[in-house]
Amino acid sequence: MELILDRVSHSYGNVEVLNDISLSVGSGEIVCIVGPSGCGKSTLLRILGGLEKPDSGAALIAGDPPADSLNPLTYVFQDFALLPWRTVEGNVSLVLEDHAIPKDRARAIIADVLARTKLSEFAGAWPRQLSGGMKQRVAIARALSVNPAVMLMDEPLSALDSQTRDLLMDDLVDLWGQVGFSACYITHNLAEAVRLGHRIVMLSRRPGRIREIVDIDIPLNERINHPAETTAIQRRLWEAMRDEARAADRELSDVA
């Protein structure tokens, strides 16, 4: 299954946030979208997952999602969006309950995704007891449990400290090695993009247009051994983005 954005433009009132954006996320591919703050990255992701309608253009799905996918387009949010009144297990179970899955099958799915995200021993913990990194692991486990065709990740590591972020990036690389998920990964952190993206799409500042698309051929699990290449790509992206980021930083904003 391929998720396609076809010539999408969008405005809030008279502020244009996205201008003529086309891209696609193929099967087993992680596409990172980077850009200065306020360039419409999050709007783009909401449009991709059908939480918002674009003014013009469309989000399209090519091909059928896998038959066992309960929620083909699944989000991972920056603020984790865990229910504080449910345990780790309960939070994963929440998204399975609406589908008629036999109890023991659901239990097996939950055990499996918790094991994959290294959360098995925390199944009964309340979200308030968990660190930020653990909370995001729960959110990722929840997303995996519905077997998504494409994961839509909205700055999933941005609320975490840099050490936790490094740990979680390693975990995501491992996870991709096991499951081979596809994702559209929004971030403003170029290091994340260079570490996790098969393709990096750089947006300009508002209104967001595609400025550059960079494909990285080095396999995800080997990138850590190619620091020179990845650093070079990261620097080149930063050179291209710096002036935009500076200008965006000095902009007055009325759009949340």
Partner: protein, 286 residues
């Protein structure tokens, strides 16, 4: 090895320097400015204070410092209370009051939560109902008691209705306030996973509004007790309010104090029950 040794040497040297410097300028600890403004639990202070006050009151009454006409001695009030137990009247009064309280409060809360949810979830209901709630909430329900008597009869109906109406409005307001404050991101998460409308309401919105609803219950329960007494003062044979009214009419101040003590115990019990419910239902909070 030698490096390690040098490292170990370092702090010792620093202390030595300090010792030498002491002759140059006096070394003082940094003054502590934190602390305070923290609640510590003192379990028996309230009980102790209560006992002391009662003893002082008793001594005042016995010595004639407090006139018996102005305030009966605690021992007399206790005597009146003992009478109630001996004659078994306490159960008659209590059961009559509890019956009205429980029915009025639970039905009022049930309807209140339902209407509150409807107001919060459907903007058309909100537009229609919330001005009425704002307009009717501040009316003292006691003022409507005569109307309730005409509508629901002089018996149990009017008493239950008074409590029910008094409980209904604050519950509506607490409920829709609670729903309004549920984290929108959680609702968006539910939608993004394709949860049904009913699931979102049941599993995200209601639990999210529960803290506010429970603090609403705390307020509405106090209102219910106040209205209970007021309603029982008209045309009730039994009930704590009727007992207090009768005691007041006869200037039997010892019985009056006994009745008020019963109300206080009732209020404390209800508060304790709600605290237990909160602790259990909101155990996911710290």
């Amino acid at each position: 090895m030698s490096l390690d040794a040098a490292d170990l040497e370092q702090p010792r040297r620093a202390t030595a320097d300090l010792q030498q410097n002491r002759h140059v300028a006096a070394v003082k600890p940094v003054p502590f400015r934190g602390g305070g403004f923290v609640h510590t639990r003192h379990r028996f202070v309230a009980l102790f204070l209560f006992v002391v006050l009662v003893i002082l009151w008793e001594i005042g009454s016995q010595t004639g410092f407090i006139s018996n006409i102005a305030l009966p001695a605690p021992s007399e009030a206790a005597g009146a209370m003992a009478d109630l137990f001996e004659t078994g009247m306490i159960w008659k009064h209590l059961s009559a009051s509890l019956y009205r309280l429980v029915i009025g409060w639970s039905v009022g809360s049930l309807i209140g939560v339902t209407v509150g949810l409807a107001v919060a979830l459907f903007s058309i209901v909100r537009a229609g109902v919330s001005p009425f709630v704002s307009a009717l909430f501040p009316i003292p329900k006691i003022a409507l008691l005569p109307l309730f008597i005409i509508w629901f009869g002089i018996g149990e109906g009017s008493k239950v209705a008074t409590i029910l109406f008094g409980v209904f409005f604050p519950t509506v307001i607490a409920t829709y306030g609670g729903v309004d404050n549920v984290d929108r991101n959680l609702i968006r998460m539910g939608q993004s996973f394709g949860l049904s409308w009913l699931s979102i309401v049941r599993k995200i919105i209601i639990p999210g509004a529960l803290p506010a609803i429970l603090s609403g219950f705390r307020i509405s329960a106090s209102i219910a007790i106040i209205l209970l007494v007021a309603a029982e003062m008209i045309g009730a044979e039994f009930g704590i309010g009727a007992y207090i009214l009768m005691a007041g009419a006869l200037f039997a101040t010892d019985q009056l104090i006994a009745g008020v003590a019963m109300l206080s115990v009732l209020g404390l019990t209800v508060g304790w029950l709600i605290s237990r419910a909160e602790r259990w239902l909101l155990r996911w909070r710290a």
